[in-house]
C-alpha cells in the first residue's frame, strides 16, 4: 500500500452467536481510523455499533464469536497485529494501555467501594508499574487534566456528579496515553451543558495526545460536533461511510436520509419524519445495499 497503515483497520468483520453462526449480528463491516482523527459510528439500538466496538477491544461476550474478518491494530512497538487472533494475555497488555474504552453509564462502570484515585491508579500500576509518590502525582495530574481538583482523588464515585464521574472515566481511559480511545455513547446520560463540556474535553485530549477515536452515538448533533468521519450502521451492516461533510450534507443512502430527517433541529424549521422503511428490500434478511 502506498499510504501509511492506519491506526485501526477493520476488514470484513462479521459477528454472530456461537450457537447459530449463520445469524449475523454484524455483517461484513470494514472501516479504518487514523491517528488524531475521530470516526463516529451512528445507528439505532440493535444496529451492531456497540458489538463492533467491543470486538476491537476483544471484549465480545462468551456467547458471541468473530466469524470472519480482521481487526488490525497498528502499534509502534509491535507493528500491525490482528486483535482477533491475540491470546487473552496479549490482549490484556493492549487493553487500557494502547486501546482504552469509555462506557455510557459512569455509575455502573465505576466501583462504588473504591476511591476514584485508586481506580485511576490501577492501570498505571498494572501497565507502567508506577508506585508511591510518582503514582500519586500522576493521578493528580490526570484529574487536573480532565478538570477535577486533584483533592478529589480520595472521593468515592457517589460523592461526584454525573459529569464528574464521566470525567473520572475519561481520566482512567487516558491514564496510559492510549493510541486509540473507544467511547460508547459517553454523553448520552448527561445534561446538554455537561455534554458540551465533555465533548470539548475529548476533542482537546485527542488533539493533544494524537489519539485515534472511535465514537459511538445515535445523536447526529454530537456527530456534527466531534466527527471527522462517519459510519452509519443499520441491522448489522454499514449502509454508508464517508467524511462528516459528505454524510451529513449529502447523504446517499435512503436510511441515512431517513435517520437525519427524524433528528429535531434547534430552529424548529423542518418537519419531523419518522423512518419510512419502504426502501427496504422485500425480504429483510437480504443485504441492505451499502452506498460508499
Amino acid at each position: 500500500m502506498s499510504t501509511a497503515q492506519p491506526l485501526l483497520q477493520l476488514q470484513h468483520v462479521s459477528i454472530s452467536p456461537k450457537k447459530s453462526p449463520s445469524r449475523l449480528l454484524v455483517n461484513d463491516v470494514s472501516f479504518s481510523i487514523e491517528a488524531g482523527k475521530t470516526t463516529c459510528v451512528v445507528g439505532e439500538s440493535g444496529s451492531g455499533k456497540s458489538l463492533t466496538a467491543l470486538s476491537v477491544m476483544g471484549l465480545l461476550s462468551q456467547q458471541l464469536q468473530l466469524n470472519t474478518g480482521k481487526v488490525l491494530f497498528n502499534d509502534k512497538e509491535s507493528g500491525v497485529q490482528d486483535i482477533a487472533l491475540l491470546s487473552e494475555k496479549a490482549l490484556q497488555k493492549i487493553r487500557g494501555a494502547k486501546i482504552a474504552m469509555i462506557f455510557q453509564e459512569p455509575m455502573t462502570s465505576l466501583n462504588p467501594v473504591l476511591t476514584v484515585g485508586y481506580q485511576i491508579g490501577e492501570s498505571l500500576t498494572t501497565h507502567l508499574g508506577l508506585k508511591g509518590e510518582a503514582l500519586k502525582a500522576k493521578i493528580a495530574a490526570l484529574l487536573e487534566m480532565v478538570g477535577i481538583p486533584s483533592s478529589r482523588a480520595g472521593s468515592y464515585p457517589d460523592e461526584l456528579s454525573g459529569g464528574q464521574r464521566q470525567r473520572v472515566m475519561i481520566a482512567m481511559s487516558i491514564a496510559c496515553e492510549p493510541r486509540l480511545l473507544i467511547a460508547d455513547e459517553p454523553t448520552t446520560a448527561l445534561d446538554v451543558t455537561v455534554q458540551a463540556q465533555i465533548l470539548k474535553l475529548l476533542d482537546d485530549l485527542k488533539a493533544r495526545m494524537n489519539m485515534g477515536m472511535l465514537f459511538i452515538t445515535h445523536d447526529f448533533g454530537v456527530v456534527a460536533d466531534i466527527a471527522d468521519n462517519v459510519v452509519v450502521m443499520f441491522r448489522g451492516e454499514i449502509v454508508e461511510a464517508g467524511s462528516k461533510a459528505q454524510v451529513l450534507s449529502n447523504p446517499q443512502h435512503p436510511y441515512t436520509r431517513a435517520l437525519l430527517a427524524c433528528v429535531p433541529d434547534a430552529e424548529g424549521k423542518k418537519d419531523l419524519k419518522p423512518i419510512d422503511y419502504a426502501w427496504l428490500p422485500e425480504n429483510n434478511t437480504q443485504s441492505i445495499g451499502a452506498v460508499r
Binding site: 439500538s45 451543558t193 458540551a196 435517520l259 427524524c262 433541529d265 419531523l272
Partner: protein, 267 residues
C-alpha cells in the same frame, strides 16, 4: 373556555435531608422556589432545565403527587392543593401523566389490557364491555393491536411501551397531560414517531400538555410556550420562538449554546 386551563402560583417545595455527623444536622434544598406557570388551553408548555433544576418536582407537585409547602394550583376554578382526597381523585381523571422510563413505569405482572384499562376501572367508567371497547380503540389509536391486550410489558420494545404509557394516560380522555421526559429514553427514530403521535393526539382530543424535557431540540418541535428552570426557580418564560431567538437570561443562552451540532444545523 378560559385562556388558561391550569395555573400554578408561587409554588414552593423544600426537601429536608439529615446531614452532618450521625445525621443530627439538617440541610434543606429548595426544589421549587416561588414558581408560577400558566398552561394555555389546547397548547403545550415545555419546562426545560438540567437535572436538579426542579422540573420533575414541579410536574409531580402540579398533579399533587407530592405535597407543596405553599402556593396554589388552579384547575377548572379549584385549588388542587386544598382539595380533600375524595375530590382530588375525581379531578385526577382530567389530569394524567406520561412517565419517562417506559421500562420502570409499567407493572411487569399486569397484562397490557389491564394496564390501560386500570384507570377506567378505578374511576368506575362504564361496564366491562364498554371498558374493553375503549381500551381497544385507544390501543389501536396509538398503533397497537387488540391482540396486544393479552401480552405483558416485557414483550414490547421501548417505543411500544411508551405507546402503552400514552394509551394508559389518554384512555380517560383527560384535559391536561403532564409528560415527564417522554422521549428521552428512546432512539432518535422512535422519538420522532412518539412526538408526532403526541402532536396528533393533542389535536384530536383537545389536550393541553405540560412537557418536561432537557432536550431543547425536542422542545422546539412540540412546544408553544416554554419555562426555563434553574435551581428551583423560573429564570425565563415566554413563547418558544421568542426564547429561542432572543434568550434574555444568561442561563438560557448557555443552554441553547450547548445544543450539540448547532453549527451544522443552523448552517
Amino acid at each position: 373556555m378560559s385562556e388558561y386551563i391550569l395555573e400554578a402560583n408561587h409554588l414552593t417545595k423544600t426537601y429536608t435531608q439529615r446531614s452532618g455527623r450521625f445525621g443530627f444536622g439538617k440541610s434543606s434544598v429548595k426544589a421549587l422556589n416561588d414558581v408560577s406557570i400558566k398552561l394555555r388551553t389546547g397548547k403545550t408548555l415545555a419546562v426545560v432545565g438540567e437535572s436538579g433544576s426542579g422540573k420533575s418536582t414541579l410536574a409531580r407537585c402540579l398533579l399533587q403527587l407530592q405535597s407543596i409547602d405553599s402556593g396554589e394550583v388552579i384547575f377548572s376554578g379549584k385549588d388542587l392543593a386544598k382539595l380533600d382526597a375524595e375530590s382530588l381523585r375525581s379531578v385526577r381523571k382530567d389530569l394524567q401523566m406520561v412517565f419517562q422510563d417506559p421500562f420502570a413505569s409499567l407493572n411487569p405482572r399486569m397484562r397490557v389490557g389491564d394496564l390501560v384499562g386500570e384507570g377506567l376501572l378505578i374511576h368506575g367508567l362504564g361496564n366491562a364491555a364498554e371498558r374493553q371497547t375503549k381500551v381497544i380503540a385507544m390501543l389501536n389509536r396509538v398503533g397497537l393491536t387488540e391482540a396486544d391486550m393479552q401480552k405483558y410489558p416485557h414483550e414490547f420494545s421501548g417505543g411500544q411501551r411508551q405507546r402503552i404509557g400514552i394509551a394508559r394516560a389518554l384512555v380517560l380522555q383527560p384535559k391536561v397531560v403532564v409528560c415527564d421526559e417522554p422521549v428521552s429514553a428512546l432512539d432518535v427514530s422512535i422519538q420522532a414517531q412518539i412526538l408526532l403521535l403526541l402532536k396528533e393526539l393533542q389535536q384530536e382530543m383537545a389536550l393541553s400538555y405540560i412537557f418536561i424535557s432537557h432536550d431543547l431540540r425536542v422542545v422546539r418541535h412540540i412546544a408553544d410556550d416554554i419555562v426555563v428552570m434553574h435551581q428551583g426557580q423560573v429564570v425565563e418564560q415566554g413563547k418558544v420562538a421568542d426564547i429561542y431567538e432572543q434568550p434574555q437570561h444568561t442561563y438560557t443562552q448557555n443552554l441553547l449554546a450547548a445544543i450539540p451540532g448547532k453549527k451544522v444545523v443552523n448552517g
